[in-house]
């Protein structure tokens, strides 16, 4: 018997009993759909993580957070700037951060106020769209000048009937001190640490005075060679270890790569577990096919007998039933892929994330479902093929 003829016969048989076919493919269908949806979801969440982590800064950035524990709790701006001497460090931007009240006219908003140095622009890649940046003389002279984020500008000025984009030159008060806005920052969107556009930047020395703090809370660094990142991290940690007299809990050094790894490891663990669940559901689906095929062999014993009496060899019957099983599982797989796409689309809409179905997953899911058909179809097919025509014909 020819291959194509066998395929035609099997497809015909699969299509001729639609209810049985649908019932037996249900397990595989749901299994494959689950795999696709889960992978899409996992992909979406790791995309989300990547997006958030990349908004923390470019891959060559590195940040030191001063936690303020132990005997030495602060690091002065000058001490922070010394980190610029560490090899491979291309820029240092110490920041002191506090929450202040900004007021313009009758509008008052609570806002993050960061005391910065001139290096902030280059290190954080956060330039102004209008006006000038905070410069070295501002630091030296504790001048009361401020850069304002676009959202804060909108919050402050819109209710007062002023155009937020014309913020430069206006005078606002921060915790009672009068500041002149010299620059309007570019819009940067949000990151893991919150909105980047809801903030006011002032000279670090001024900030220390206004908020009565000493030292800095965060030091942002950039490196010139990303491949030497881990060596640089080690060197920076060594300097800090010295400064804080061996108290490792006083500071934390973070880089983007590290953060990504940490967040993604959670994701990966979850994904792996989801894949196990999916594989189990595919196996259960395969058992479903096997059961229905076994029943179908019994039900079709007479047909098998007729075929055998007419000249169907053992391998013809084996092939026919195997192809039927693969057709059912393959069809289930294909429909499952479709359903998985729909599910991942819905999940994307509901969770408001970008879901993505990788093509290799689709391929693997389909091949695996066909494979399940071969494995679980073999037993029933073999049972059918081994029937003796005499017995099979007598069967009702």
């Amino acid at each position: 018997m020819k291959l194509t003829q066998g395929l035609k016969m099997a497809v015909k048989s699969v299509l001729s009993n639609k209810l049985r076919t649908v019932l037996s493919m249900l397990g595989i269908l749901i299994g494959v759909a689950t795999v696709i949806a889960l992978v899409a979801m996992g992909k979406a969440s790791s995309n989300e993580v990547a997006k958030q982590v990349s908004s923390l800064g470019s891959p060559n950035s590195l940040s030191v957070t001063i936690l303020g524990r132990g005997t030495v709790t602060t690091l002065s701006v000058d001490e922070a700037n010394e980190l610029g001497d560490v090899m491979n460090v291309a820029g240092v931007a110490p920041v002191t951060s506090a929450t202040g009240y900004a007021k313009y006219g009758k509008t008052q908003v609570s806002v993050t106020v960061e005391g910065i140095t001139a290096a902030y622009e280059k290190v954080k890649e956060f330039p102004v769209q209008d006006g000038r940046y905070i410069a070295a003389p501002d630091i030296k002279n504790n001048t009361k000048v401020a850069l304002i984020g676009v959202d804060t500008a909108t919050d402050l000025f819109e209710d007062e009937g002023e155009d937020p984009s014309a913020a430069v030159g206006k005078k606002i008060t921060i915790n009672g001190y009068i500041f002149t806005i010299v620059g309007l920052l570019e819009s940067q969107g949000s990151s893991l640490t919150g909105s980047n556009d809801e903030k006011i930047l002032i000279p670090v020395t001024t900030a220390q005075k206004v908020f009565q703090t000493s030292g800095v809370s965060t030091i942002n660094l950039i490196v010139s060679d990303t491949s030497l990142m881990s060596a640089t991290v080690t060197a920076v940690e060594a300097v800090l270890y010295e400064k804080f007299r061996g108290n490792e809990n006083a500071y934390r050094v973070l880089n983007q790569e590290e953060a990504m790894k940490t967040l993604n490891s959670v994701n990966e663990t979850m994904n792996r577990q989801l894949i196990y669940v999916a594989i189990i559901s595919l196996i259960v689906g395969g058992i479903g096919i096997m059961n229905i095929m076994l029943v179908s062999v019994t039900e079709r014993t007479r047909e098998i007998g007729i075929r055998k009496s007419l000249g169907a060899k053992k391998r013809d019957i084996l092939f026919q039933f195997l192809v039927e099983a693969v057709c059912i599982s393959g069809l289930g797989g294909a429909l499952g892929i479709g359903l998985g796409y729909v599910a991942s689309f819905i999940i994307g809409v509901v969770m408001k994330t970008e879901t993505e179905v990788p093509l290799d997953t689709v391929g693997v899911a389909f091949l695996f479902s066909a494979f399940v058909g071969v494995v679980f179809g073999y037993l029933p097919a073999n049972k059918a093929a081994s029937l003796r025509p005499v017995d099979a014909l007598r069967h009702d």
């Binding site: 018997m1 003829q5 007729i306 075929r307 007419l310 000249g311 060899k313 053992k314 003796r388 025509p389």
Partner: protein, 253 residues
């Protein structure tokens, strides 16, 4: 059919068949010997339990004898593999069953194509031969009907067409009229007579003496033993061996 007219179609000698039933050996056929020449129309008659189904299964290569020798067109069946038996069934025998044994999901034409599919014929030739066979049994107009759209007689004619489609040396009919009313049964039998007159060898298995009378030659099976009835001499077209030695049945030991 075949050029090899000197070799008998069926040559059985001392064929026995026994089964193990509950650890006890039950012998269903006792050293049955039978010769059927090409072009003959043989009826095997016997009550139920006589072993005629077992004999039919052996003649039809659906089952193997326990002992003895069975040659189909000179080829020894004893000890052949499953695949070889299947091939013999496909090439040498056209089955006509009591319950028609059509596949209900297939049309009449597709049913007739089935044995040709297993023979490995290309689609076009298959269709051609199946159509010819259906026309031969007068069902040229009903090729695309399914089993449930055909009457009992028509279904049996489809089964005959299916058996004829492979152009086999022998038609093996198991109670072909068993499921039909007597009128349709007679029609089917007339058709078989006609086929026989055209040279088709037919072996008919039945419990009904009336049906058996339509054959040229009748053997009776009882308790696994064959006895020959006298030959009907009325049919002048029969051109088989006339010396009598070949048709004589060898009985039990």
């Amino acid at each position: 059919m075949t050029t090899n007219a000197n070799v008998p179609l069926i040559e059985m000698s001392k064929v026995s068949k026994s089964y193990m039933m509950a650890r006890e050996k039950t012998t269903v056929l006792h050293e049955v010997s039978l010769k059927v020449a090409h072009g003959d129309f043989l009826a095997i008659v016997g009550p139920s339990g006589s072993g005629k189904s077992t004999l039919m299964n052996i003649i039809g290569c659906l089952d193997l004898p326990s002992e003895g020798s069975y040659k189909l067109e000179g080829l020894e069946i004893m000890g052949q593999s499953d695949n070889k038996l299947t091939e013999m069934r496909n090439k040498k025998i056209g089955f006509i069953f009591q319950g028609y044994h059509l596949l209900p999901k297939l049309s009449a034409l597709e049913n007739c194509e089935l044995p040709l599919i297993y023979r490995g014929l290309p689609g076009k030739e298959r269709k051609q031969r199946a159509m010819e066979a259906l026309e031969r049994v007068g069902l040229g107009q009903r090729m695309h009907h399914r089993q449930n759209e055909l009457s009992g007689g028509q279904q049996q004619r489809v089964a005959i067409a299916r058996a004829l489609a492979t152009n086999p040396p022998m038609l093996l009919a198991d109670e072909p009229t068993g499921a039909l009313d007597s009128k349709t049964g007679m029609e089917v039998l007339s058709m078989m007579e006609e086929l026989n007159r055209a040279g088709q060898t037919i072996v008919l298995i039945t419990h009904d003496m009336e049906v058996a009378k339509r054959a040229r030659r009748t053997v009776i099976i009882r308790d696994g033993v064959l006895t020959e009835q006298e030959r009907r001499n009325s049919d002048e077209t029969y051109a088989g061996p006339q010396d009598g030695s070949e048709e004589r049945l060898v009985q039990q030991a």
